[in-house]
């Protein structure tokens, strides 16, 4: 539950969205506090990815309100959203095949001061330094995921949207990413996560929002999930 004095960096009010003719979000309502890690959980097709894409301005049509640091960005184009300080790491990772690892890393332009330096990024993700001249897509799945996260850390964006960062990755890599995201929290980044892997999310997330058919149907805090009855409830939400 949100303490009264914690400033929310993002407030989503009655967000509805369409891809062409089909409606994917039917009224999303939730908020994310500054400096926390919040996670959208839910079954496949519930609308979690669509929510991230809607925040980023990548869907066809949106109505409702998206208050980012007080400004309503629901009509913004993707580059306008990015320049407000939001960065997006898509589910497909989006590593450019026609660019080297280093070019991929440097691609997102610096939109605000305060981003991480290249050295700091290489400290967080050492593999990327070794492979800097390889073609972007020649990296392993885990390395590509790290690159996808790494490149948005340089830009100065302080609100990160991460879509299924652990999908298809080995447990060892998953742990590395969990560690990296926790480090990001220490560096004052705010993260909105979409995850199918509840185990992973439960290690790092402060808040959980359950999404079903394009709307938030329930929410839990980090404390709540210590209760096994709550875990059971979550299990029911996520089971096929």
């Amino acid at each position: 539950m949100t303490p009264a004095n914690a400033p929310s960096i993002l407030e989503v009010r009655d967000l509805q969205a369409w891809y062409g003719e089909s409606k994917v979000l039917h009224g999303m309502n939730f908020s994310v506090n500054k400096g926390e890690i919040a996670t959208l959980i839910g079954r496949n097709g519930a609308g979690k990815t669509s929510t991230l894409r809607s925040i980023m301005g990548l869907v066809g049509k949106r109505t409702g309100h998206l208050y980012f640091e007080g400004h309503d960005i629901v009509t913004y184009s993707p580059d306008e959203v990015a320049r407000k300080g939001v960065a997006y790491c898509p589910e497909e990772r989006g590593i450019f095949a026609s660019l080297s690892v280093h070019e991929n890393l440097l691609l997102p332009p610096i939109i605000k001061p305060g981003g991480m330096s290249i050295d700091a990024i290489h400290q967080l993700f050492p593999n990327l330094l070794e492979r800097r001249n390889s073609q972007g897509t020649k990296l392993s799945g885990g390395e590509q995921q790290m690159l996808a996260i790494a490149r948005i850390l340089r830009t100065g964006a302080h609100f990160l949207l991460l879509d299924e960062p652990t999908e298809g990755l080995a447990p060892v890599i998953v742990q590395q990413i969990a560690f990296a995201i926790q480090q990001l929290k220490k560096l004052d980044f705010t993260v909105l996560l979409v995850e199918q892997n509840f185990n992973f999310a439960s290690q790092i997330s402060d808040h959980f929002y359950v999404v079903e058919q394009g709307a938030v149907v329930d929410q839990f805090s980090r404390k709540d999930i210590e209760d096994p009855k709550v875990l059971d409830q979550i299990d029911k939400y996520l089971s096929v």
């Binding site: 580059d79 990015a82 960065a87 095949a97 660019l99 691609l107």
Partner: protein, 295 residues
Amino acid sequence: MTEIFGIPSQAFYGQLFIGLINGSFYALLSLGLAIIFGLLNVINFAHGAQYMMGAFCAWLALKFLDLNYWAALVVVPVLVAFTGMFIEWFFLRKIKKLDPVYGLLLTFGLALLIEGAFRQGFGVSGLPYAIPEALQGRRNLGFMFLPNYRLWVICVSVVVCLVTWLVIEKTKLGSYLRAATENPSLVQAFGVRVPRMMTLTYGVGVLLAAFAGVMAAPIYQVSSSMGTNTIIVVFAVVVIGGMGSIGGAIFSGYALGLAEGMTKVFYPQASTTVIFLIMALVLMVKPSGLFGKKS
């Protein structure tokens, strides 16, 4: 007189050289087309008309503004590029969400408009444009005579193609173009104003076409129909090369120009059709083109 494969050597090298010149124009034009297609997913049928505009504006600039070839080489492509950027902003943006076929049809319509306007204003016959003084004359290489202006054209086109290729493949600016060609919405989500990039890229493609036009003016006669007849051949060149690759477009341009030249030496009746025949062959053997990435 020496002979090569039964052809007098002067004729042989002369024709080869002409092939290289034609190839220079094919390379410049397919480069522009490939750049535009890569990012905007539009086949710019108006490319030929914009090439023609380059030649015509050089002619007009000389006749009415006393602007010589060297000034025209700088000013005219930029001017035509601005008309191109207007076209992208006013016309092409509106149909971005449609099937790419409509981009071809729209630019086809624009090509007709531009050509019709110039034909209405200046008639069908070709207008002469003098070779600039500094580049007149020719060198005697022994096995052939080498006209200076044509040598200039080949050198400049090679340099322009090389520089363009280097910028796209090796610089940061080029990395934005390459990335946006692959995934424009993600690049936009990083904060890059991709729509503006598309306008500028179309402008660059048109700039290359118009630049080729200015260079073409002293060689071919300036006429309203010089564009579309050339562009259909260039279409065949890009189908052969495959439009995914900038280097492939450049290489195909020169190679096919040479092939055309060679055909003229040994079997002149087929010289107008050889590039199309090669295209048919490539389609049978490797449909995605010699360097094709996008299937």
